[in-house]
Structure formats: C-alpha cells, structure tokens
Subunit: 461 residues, 2 copies
C-alpha cells in the first residue's frame, strides 16, 4: 500500500518488490537478521533521490541507503519494512581532472572501478580491502572504509574532497567541492563521512587520486610473539618506507591454506605472521634488499622471527598477499562473528593478550581467528561458529563475549569499531564506545539533519 503511494509520488522511480530482490537487496554480508524490506528502489539520478526523500517524509517511510551490501555491521540491513535505496543504477563517472587529480563519481560506483579508472590514467586510488570488487564508494564513505593501505594513505575519509548528498528534508548539500583548503564554517563533509546513512543519502563523491607508487617488495615474516611485532616494525620503519603492515595468527594461516589448497609458506609453524610491503625504487633496489637481509638476520638473532619469505615480483607478492587476503573469505563458511577493534599501536600487544585471555576464560570452546592492520592498531577478531551450535545461541554468546571485549577496549582507550561502523549489530554497545555527552550530541545532530527520522532509523544511534 505504502509502495503504491510511493509509486504515485515518484512516478519515474524504479520500484521493485520481487521477493528475490527484497532478499538480495535487503541485507549486507552479515547473516544475523532476516531481510524484510517493503520495497527496493533504484534511483537513477540526484533528482529522483530528492523526490524520494520528500515523498518518504510525507509517507513516513524509512529509507535504508544501500551500496554494494558488503557491510559487516548490518548498516544496510532492512529488517523492518523499510524502503531500500539501492544505488546500483548510479555508477557513472561524472568528472575527472588530471591537474587536480580529482575524480567525481556517483555513489554506487564500485571501489575497484575507481581503482581501475585511476590506474588507466597512471594514477592510484589507494583504498583497498577484501570487498573492493563489490563495495560502493558511497558505502565506503558511510563507514569511512580503511583497508590495507591506511598506513601510508589514510582512510576513505582522507580521500573525500567533495560530497553531494540529500539530507532528511530532501535538501541537496554540495560539500567542499573538491577544494584542498576550505575554512568557511563547519565541515559537514566530515560529519557525513562515517555517519552510516543516518544523516543524509550520499549521491556523489569527489575523490582525490594519488601518483602511482614506486615498485615495492613484500616481506612475510614468521614471528614468535605479538610483542616482538612492534620491535620488528620499529626496526623496519627506520630503514624502509612502509606502505602496508599486516599481521595474522597461525590459525588464520591454517584456515586459508585449507580453504584455498595452498602450501604453507614456511617449514616452521610460527604463532604469528607479519606481512610488510615497502617501496623498492629500482635505483635503490640493491641497497634496500641488503638492508632487508640485515634486518632479518638481526630479527632471527634476537629471537623475534623464525623465518621469512621475500617477494620482489608482482606475482610472488600477490602470492604472499593471498595468505592475508584470503582469511575473511576462508572464515565465512563458519558464520563468523566479527569484531573490529582498534587501539593505539603501542598498546596492541597487551590488548591482544587481554582479549585472548578473556576469550579463553569465558568461551574456551570457541575458535578465534586474529588478524588485522597492525600498522594502524586495528585488530580483526573472527569467532567461528561451532558446527553444532545454532545461530541465535551463537550470536547470544558472542554478544556476551563482545561485552567483555568492549570493556577491555574501553580500558585500553580503543574503539569498538575501527572500520566496520556501528550499524545494527553494534548499536547496543555504543554506550561502551562513546560518552553520554557525545551520544547526546550525536542525537541532537541527527535531529538537525533528519527531523523525521526517516534516514536509516535504528542504525548507529
């Protein structure tokens, strides 16, 4: 019924109520809620989004913006009769300027398409993560996606030079317009970045591209404990320009090797792996490789590392990256409960120890994979569902575990969501992450942007 009224109000809008589409477009990569949207709409342009928001206001319809649906916190899940606003038809490149190195795209554009567009013009879009082949730019911005190149290039937040968005009153906001410097009042662009569709629907983004980085080498180290990873990083930072610094546990390595039928890269079976990528410009290649050998020798002498593999070619490098990049997919068969925590780098070893201990104590039966972007202090935890446990009970137990983990996170001054957002799944824990005053201010801001509460209600706040 409401769908019919919406169709009347927005006669040129593509509205779909096919059960398959409701299923596919009513959720993201999380599997803890059944999708139940009233409809999925596919706006084709800004004008249609404006009209849709104005109609939704009048009809009191809740709108759930939806990009590539690869979210891991349920931010794009429509489980309560909402209207999903799918950006599948808004994937055009709108503008590119090689002098400014700015690329303007519609919000539904896939991350990998932006990477390709840049590469073809001898430029580089550095945001890169497992879901880049499906995740949309709008979704990246809504959760300020991070990934594996944050160490050098920062987050999606740092790439956004301009945003066009529609607020909860249907007003078009055109924010920052691609400028480097703009100190003319509150930076609403940064407020929308990371707001998970609760303040405005992002329609277009202007992204800053980078020069193509120099050639690089990838070094995979088998390390003896978490604390020595920091020592190793400190050594490596002295002599190399690092562009990525990832870690993962032996369990994660085993699971990837099994899922992808890969051979383990080393004869030994160290408890942790550290993967670093560093610049290797051809004119310095010899000197840098000698330096790498020296650091490795030093690390083995000190008992930090047991073995290492160095990749210089593109092919070898992607083989080493496969061990790290395959983890999330390998885990997905086990309905993983994911936490995405961050602390300051210096606190990471003690934090991981505390998390591991709490997990062992409360839920010794759980298998947990640890991995993450150690260079940024970002730790991904995947609790694997035991095959004989049902999903509802598993989620309940994981929430209990999460509560403990989030208390530890607060004690270590960290964040309960580093790059996945709060969405639906972490909403109950927001008060563990943000103070009462901050939450009150956030609610006030929400009210200012979306007085009728039609934009992604029940998410984040």
């Amino acid at each position: 019924m409401l769908t019919e009224k919406l169709a009347q109000a927005c006669p040129d809008l593509c509205i779909d109520t096919d059960p398959d589409v409701l299923q596919s477009h009513g959720r993201d990569w999380t599997r803890f809620r059944e999708p139940q949207p009233a409809a999925v709409v596919f706006p084709a342009n800004l004008r249609q989004v404006v009209k849709l928001v104005k109609a939704a206001r009048q009809l009191e319809l809740a709108l759930v913006p939806s990009g590539g649906r690869t979210g891991l916190s349920g931010g794009a899940v429509a489980a309560h009769g909402e209207v999903v606003v799918a950006m599948d038809r808004m994937r055009r490149v709108l503008e590119f300027d090689p002098v400014d190195r700015l690329l303007t795209v519609e919000a539904g554009t896939v991350t990998a398409a932006v990477q390709s567009f840049a590469r073809e013009r001898d430029l580089f879009y550095p945001v890169s993560f497992a879901a880049e082949g499906s995740a949309s730019i709008g979704g990246n911005i809504a959760t300020t996606a991070g990934g594996i190149r944050v160490l050098r290039y920062g987050l999606t937040r740092d790439r956004v030079a301009g945003l066009k968005a529609v607020d909860g009153r249907g007003r078009v906001l055109e924010l920052n317009r691609g400028l480097v410097k703009n100190a003319s009042g509150y930076d609403l662009r940064h407020l929308l970045i990371g707001s998970e569709g609760t303040l405005a629907i992002i329609v277009e983004a202007t992204l800053r591209l980078e020069p193509t980085p120099p050639p690089s080498a990838v070094l995979l180290l088998g390390v003896t404990s978490m604390p020595v990873i920091l020592d190793l990083m400190a050594e490596l930072r002295k002599g190399f320009s690092l562009s990525a610094c990832e870690f993962f546990s032996a369990e994660a390595m085993h699971m990837v090797c099994k899922a992808r039928a890969l051979r383990q890269p080393m004869d030994s079976d160290p408890p942790f792996y550290l993967l670093v990528e560093f610049d290797l410009p051809s004119e310095q290649s010899e000197a840098l490789l000698e330096r790498a050998a020296a650091v490795l020798e030093y690390a083995i002498e000190r008992g930090w590392a047991v073995d290492a593999v160095l990749a210089q070619s593109q092919l070898q490098a992607s083989e080493l990256w496969a061990y790290r990049e395959g983890i999330s997919e390998a885990a997905s068969a086990h309905t993983p409960y994911k936490n995405d925590l961050s602390v300051r780098l210096s606190r990471m070893p003690a934090f991981l120890s505390a998390l591991e201990e709490a997990t062992r104590r409360s839920f010794p039966q759980f298998q947990v994979l640890w991995y993450g972007h150690v260079g940024d202090g970002n730790l991904h935890m995947n609790v694997l569902k035991p095959a004989d446990l049902d999903t509802v009970e598993f989620e309940r137990m994981c929430k209990e575990l999460s509560r403990e983990h989030y208390e530890l996170t607060a004690r270590f001054g960290g964040s309960i969501s580093a790059e996945h957002g709060i969405g639906l799944l972490k909403r109950a824990f927001l008060a563990q992450a943000r103070s009462e005053a901050e939450i009150a201010l956030m609610r006030g801001i929400k009210q200012v942007f979306d007085p009728d509460g039609i934009l992604n209600p029940g998410k984040l706040l």
Copy 2:
C-alpha cells in the same frame, strides 16, 4: 559587576581587568575592531575551564577563546564586553609516545614549540606558517591552519588524532583518543576542527608527528605568467617529490626586498615567482639535480621561465624562503585588507586573472599583493591601504571589493576562506560561501553544542 560574580563562581580562576591586558588579549592580528572585553581569564587546567563555562552559562557571559591571537579574520576579537578565555597558562606537554608518534599538548602550546619538541625526538611536525612562533595549537585547530607544507602533509585537520574540549553546557568531550581508525559514530572531532570556538573550547590536542623528511632543495623560478605556473608544476611533479609549491607576484617581491633590505634574487624582474621545495636524498642527489637543470632548460626554451636560483644548503634555502615568508610582515605596515581564497588548482590562473581584472576595474587606486600556496589552490590577496585613506573608509571599500571577489569565487567553485576562518570580518559573506541549507544545518549544530550561545557569539555564524 559580572566580573565580580564570575570571581565568586570561580574563586581559583585568574581574572584580569587591567586595561593593557584587555587591549592585548582582546584582539588578534586584525586591526578593524577596537577590543573591549569585560575581562580576560587565564584558566590553568581543564577543571577550571569546565567551571568557567558552567558559570558563564548561569551569568549569561559570552566567552571568546583566545590562543596566540594571530588570527586574520577577527575570530578571537572581543569587541562587545565578552570574557576572553586566554590559554596562555595551558602550554604543557602532557604525553608523548614514540611508537605511536603521538604528542598530547594543552591547547595554548605554541606551534613552534610542537615543531621543536618533534625535532628533538628526530620527528617532524609539518604544519608551518608565518605566525608559528606565536600561534597556538588550539587556535590552529579552531581554524584548521594550513601553511606551506599542505601539499605533502595536509592541514592541521589531518594532524589531529584526538581532542579534549568543553562544550557549551560545560561537558567534557574526549574525542577519538589518538586512534588511527575509529568508525563508531559521528566524528565530532572533525566537527570541532575549524569551528572557530563556536561549538566548544578546545583544551587539549593529540597530534600525529611524522618521520623527519629527507634533505631537500629549494628552487626559485622567475616565471612569465600565471598560467605557465601550472605547466611548470606539471613538469616538476613528474620528476620530483614536491613538499612545497608557493607563488608570489613581482610587487610582493619588491615590498619584501624593501622592508628587509634584501637584494632581488635575479637580475630580471619577472611578473611572478614560483618557489618549489623537493626531496633531495643524498643517494639520488646528482641525478635529481641534473633533472632539475633539464626541466629549467625546457622551461626557458618554452618561454615559461626567465631565470632560476637553486639552493641546496640549508642556509641558501632559508634565504630563498625569506622572500616568500617575509611578504605578510612586509605588508603589515600598510594595514592590509586580506582575503584568503581557494579554488581547484586547475582553475587558479583563470581565477587570478578574473580577480585582477575586477580589482583594476573597481579600485584602480589600490595596490594589491598576490601570493599563496599554489600547490593547494590557495591565493592570498593583500590590499594595501593608501596612506591618505582612513581605516573605516578603507574597510568599507575593501568589503565592496570583497563582495565582487567572493562572487567570482562562487562562480569558480572556490572558498572565501581557505585557511583563515570566517570569524568576525567575513561573517557577512558566509551566505556567499555556503548554501542556505548548509547555514541552517550549521545553526542547528551550534544550538546542539551551545544552546545558550555563550561560545564566541557573533563569530562565523
């Protein structure tokens, strides 16, 4: 009277009503308003700031946060009986961690002190600008100060990993706590950055330091026109890693040479100068200098440049920088009316032509100095007051000129304040910079953070 009530409410707060202090602390570097604060207070710690804000709320006192008072838009001017909150006593270093490369300081800490602190630990704080010897970190954040290293390192905004601040209700906000990644709700830190003291009083900041950059060389080029500066930059970007890219007009060069009794660096007198700084790591120094010579030859052949001076030593480099860095001071004797505009880099030449033409047409009697951070699309305009014109009339004429310039800025998609903020002087022009919807949202946000309007009223909004 109010001052006495304030003293009663905050018995341990240092309150000063000495006329000299009211004069010195009631204004910034602008000279268009007479300072008339009711009092200047010097809080010593966070607790006193909280108490002060709560008292100000009850007593309906307006508070003007004040750092190094080097602002150029009147953001820290107290001309209507406000209480100035001077951060002079809050200049302590609170925490430093070499692994995280994070430095936490009180808001009154001087920018140059942060630079020194970093240098002494073999690290680097890249924000650098003319007033760095007086400007405070809190003030930098309130206006998101830019300066000469934005090209590589970004703005003050990009340095701030954490903020502690007191909102208009006297609530302490502790934002982001030094994390790299934190996707747990709206990023209030970024909302406070650039808010010019209108949303909260910044009390502490956690700043991200960088590794010491490699040795560099400085090249000063005499160029034949503004458009060729972009061609030159494009050539230079191909072969060099640029860390700064500044330009200034012949008039600016003449004024600096006169004020500082310097010799002009070249025999010729080109209409524009381009100053670039680029990395010169010792192992590549020979190759890079050869490359620089080749680019220069190419530029002269093409008629882009007429002459150039290259500085390799620190001393020579600072001599060349002096021509650029001395402009603001040299102009200050002439009560300059300053505009601080930015556009996308690619639009800069056409934008400057349009501005020059408008100025010549409307006020042919004015002498205008042009200079700025061309790498960031940031143009500083200094209109010099003719000696025989009184200040009030001069300001009126400049505002008329500004209105024309801001119209052009809007037409070129630019910003009317790149790095100086809106403050008092540009407030009347906000509607030329931001849309009606944006201003309405900003007012709403102001209301959420400061419901009684006690924080820097009459500034920005």
